[in-house]
Symmetry: C2
Subunit: 356 residues, 2 copies
């Protein structure tokens, strides 16, 4: 299955998306999830790998299983609707796996948007939401403009503080076009995943990325503990507001509970926000797509910064990686492969075949 | 009226908010606006001064009058509803003054949110939107969480390009608390207003703020032409998505028209987005306010970065300035005073009394 032209990590084993989805779904089913839910979680994780967002991909499988075993993730959640209005739902996710709860929210937001023009699903008490672009892209394929947010525990410095106060709170916004445009970004300068990657390689990190455990700026990846917010007060302000419009409306505060050190605050918990706007209720969706294409073309016609080399749209690099990895397979770092192998042995699940 | 303790610009004249609102309303009425509209525009501009956002305050009065005289701002707009759904409205603003159109949108979004849980008003074909925090704060006072966005012409570099491609596209998010929390930020590293201020003082600007007319990075404020996006691809990506979910849904593209150099693209035009979420439809609004207060307290209890000196919430500095300037008056730079004086003479409006 390995393609000798695959540019990434030539010595790492690779496997196809189908193979990895089958393996992941099998693991989650063994861990107690209904088959349909296990398939959703597998699809969201492997999609992240296909897009090149490996920090949100199959390397999360062992962590998800740990969360189930610790009782923080519920493999058989009773997902219910707590409140409903003509344009919105507050969904009680009962500690469901993030992908299961967020897809439930996405489907609900799209349905509400078809009825009311705009639909909002607040997803209460979920777990690691996964790569948000998956959900906004799913809504964009239904003819929606979509916004997804996720709130979690404090792991990013609040501007002006020498300690973590807000979360990486990702924001994704997607719209349809001939190719959809999909922004998916953290409100921190750098994601926890990238910081952990730097820890593994040991390469110095740029100034302005992170603080050490005492809240002092550092460029040593091993000392780096707390990523800084993007653009100072703007990033931490956005993250704070995301907690307010997601966790506080859903009556499931995460930051305050954790900063106060309550028992609840020490558990793995997230909340999500998915909004859909039905383009067909405002005008002709085909005209909208054409205008997106026109805007992309206008931006790509600007003079290129030689340092950047190319003008990219949000989500464009991910789409290219998706195409390449769909064809050539997904590279799996040896450490991740080893962890998955150990997990497979422990659960009695057959390890997936790989290129090596 | 001048207070000797006023910390800003000790030699500048000052005037009270009431005085300035009366003057501004008089000017706009002379320029053709109905009295009620003139009062709204005056209130939004002077509110910005009270909050310390002088770039969005009375210094805009001459520019607004220019826009009316050029036919780009309509003093007597026929504001209509183009499309309406249970949770949304697309408002045709007919080139109304931004504050008039955006307040119409805010009122509509709040009304829709009371009916449907969530309300979205898209404001099509307005002009300079003013300080967005005014609108989200107005909605927060009605028990709403609110989001406002504004789209305008390309004046900020698109990441990877050596030219302007996106706009400063501000984002404001507000929620009620004992004191409301109000984020109001541009998606550029620095606002055009701050860049213009640096041009006036001649002080070197930090690296990473702006490009010169050829698209090269510069620290010379006089050479600086194009602000850079906040956090590189994140800021320009957000700005691009704001154009998509505001201008393109409203079928009034701004960036592409301008980048292509069409006749429409050379005119002053903006579009706005105001969303309200009715907290009472999701839970107890009093509990929500208490949770906001609790979160603020938890963040303010973090260890302070000595360089910052203090941990501030979004909008907190503006609230302090509001209190001080409400008491001590609003300082008016000599250049702005001179421009207003010349305008008053030209229109035959009495110049406002000031401290000097």
């Amino acid at each position: 299955m390995r393609n000798p032209q695959a540019p990434a990590a030539p010595t790492a084993p690779t496997a196809s998306a189908t193979t990895l989805k089958g393996f992941a779904a099998h693991v989650f089913a063994c861990a107690g999830m209904p088959e349909a839910d296990a398939a959703v979680v597998a699809d969201v994780l492997v999609w992240a790998n296909l897009r090149g967002v490996d920090t949100h991909g199959i390397m999360r499988i062992p962590r998800y299983v740990d969360l189930i075993e610790a009782g923080d993730m519920n493999a058989k959640p009773a997902i219910t609707i707590r409140t409903e209005t003509p344009a919105s739902l507050l969904i009680e996710a009962d500690r469901a796996a993030g992908p299961v709860a967020m897809m439930r929210g996405t489907t609900a937001a799209v349905r509400k948007a078809r009825d009311a023009g705009v639909g909002l699903a607040l997803v209460r008490a979920t777990t690691h939401a996964g790569a948000l672009g998956y959900y906004t892209l799913a809504a964009a394929r239904e003819g929606m403009a979509a916004i997804a947010l996720a709130a979690s525990w404090p792991n990013v410095a609040y501007h002006g503080a020498r300690a973590a106060g807000v979360s990486t709170s990702p924001i994704s916004i997607a719209v349809p076009g001939t190719e959809p445009v999909v922004l998916d970004m953290a409100t921190s300068v750098v994601s926890m995943g990238k910081l952990n990657q730097a820890k593994r390689t040991g390469e110095p990190i740029p100034e302005g990325w992170a603080l050490d455990k005492d809240g002092k700026p550092t460029t040593d990846p091993r000392a780096a503990q707390i990523p800084l917010p993007m653009a100072g007060p703007k990033g931490s302000g956005l993250s704070l507001m995301i907690e307010c419009i997601t966790s506080l409306i859903a009556a499931n505060p995460l930051l305050a509970e954790s900063l106060e050190g309550t028992a609840e605050g020490r558990r793995h918990r997230q909340n999500g926000f998915v909004m859909a706007i039905d383009l067909a209720r405002f005008g002709d969706p085909e005209s909208f797509r054409r205008e997106v294409d026109r805007l992309v073309k206008a931006l790509k016609s600007l003079p290129v910064d030689p340092e950047a080399g190319e003008i990219l749209m949000p989500g464009e690099r991910g789409r290219r990686t998706f195409e390449r990895r769909s064809r050539d397979g997904i590279p799996i770092p040896h450490a991740v492969y080893g962890e998955l192998h150990a997990l497979a042995n422990r659960l009695g699940v057959a390890m997936f075949p790989s290129s090596r």
